[in-house]
Symmetry: C2
Subunit: 185 residues, 2 copies
DNA sequence: GTTATATATTATACTGGTATTATATATAAC
DNA sequence: GTTATATATAATACCAGTATAATATATAAC
């Protein structure tokens, strides 16, 4: 379970509300770990019960009141331990579209269409995402206290996404060629 | 939800018990979609309620009795519709280790270690997995009725895993070099 | 002789992710 | 003037995935 550590990591940059965290997540971690705002609020509750964060209510006049969370020493300890401990384990891939490819022999034309659309989407994404995400990295590097020294690491996660998207496009292209050869000989 | 379609796809090859399906899953689909046997039995129940499959009890003397499932016409229809319909959607990546990389500035040495271990594991996997999986593909292509015409598609899913594992190794290597440059100047 | 593995299914309980909705107000866009 | 968007949080309910264990027997390995 990485969500609480993601939240700890963000709170370690600066105090934030659940709303703030949901927005930052959307701009950054979301590229490799999705979290709904409802999930974030639920998790913040749990983290406060564990003593990893504390919160205080902030009364506002022109906006709804908000609850500002701060990381505690205990939370910083948990974050550091998580970062330093434990063997690397990969998530099992869960690729719904590979399930369709696997059974593609039942519908070769549909599979070809699927692969073409996969290729197109990946090429688009590989051209667009990095720009947008790079902009986010530069933004947060400037905005967050001590942000500059993080951008090297943020960049790595961006690169990961980019090369995998490119690899998928290349793979789909190769599959398309093989399939086309099979289908009209 | 791809699990029921995965099961339909396998039952479309041949009648099977939940136990059979769990084993075949382990050897094949498992590379991109994991399913526990408990989940498979639960799903088969639901599919029978929907009329996608029918089952009959087979009494055995030297083994526990078993329940053999067969796909119905309705099930074949559902499989075909799933294969042909719908826009391509990628799963959101869920990479716990990228979460650690993202917050790596808090523990640069640990991150370096993580990346090294990532690189090693991927190189090992890229060397070993394809052999084992290729053996499975050849096995099932021979064993399953009409298996030969499927192996092209099965191969594609194997290739997908292989190129992504290689891409990850290459990425990790590049990250390691950047980090080493940063850490001992 | 004992242990591990293979066969075959089922039950239970938990947790994380998702979907949806409700509330309330200020500002910007049309 | 109305609609959409941004701010800010919370409640509810469902479903899928995970962990674990129970049951029962046959064979292979040590």
């Amino acid at each position: 379970m990485s969500l609480p550590y993601g939240l700890l990591g963000l709170l370690n940059y600066q105090d934030s509300t659940g709303y703030d965290l949901a927005k930052i997540f959307e701009d950054s971690l979301n590229n490799f770990w999705h979290a709904q705002s409802a999930q974030i609020y639920r998790e913040l509750d749990r983290m406060e019960q564990k003593g990893w964060v504390v919160s205080r209510n902030i009364v506002q006049s022109k906006r709804p009141n908000k609850r500002l969370y701060s990381i505690t020493d205990k939370g910083r300890g948990a974050l550091h331990q998580w970062l330093c401990e434990g063997a690397l384990e990969f998530e099992r891939p869960h690729e719904a579209f590979l399930m369709k490819v696997f059974f593609g022999a039942n519908a070769p034309e549909a599979t070809l269409k699927l692969l073409r659309s996969c290729c197109d989407m990946c090429l688009d994404a590989a051209a667009e995402y990095p720009k947008r995400i790079q902009a986010n990295i530069d933004h947060y590097a400037a905005v967050i206290p001590g942000g500059e020294k993080n951008s090297l690491y943020w960049q790595m996660t961006l690169d990961f996404g980019t090369i995998h998207t490119q690899a998928t496009a290349k793979w789909a292209q190769a599959c398309i060629e093989k399939l086309e050869k099979e289908l009209k000989p």
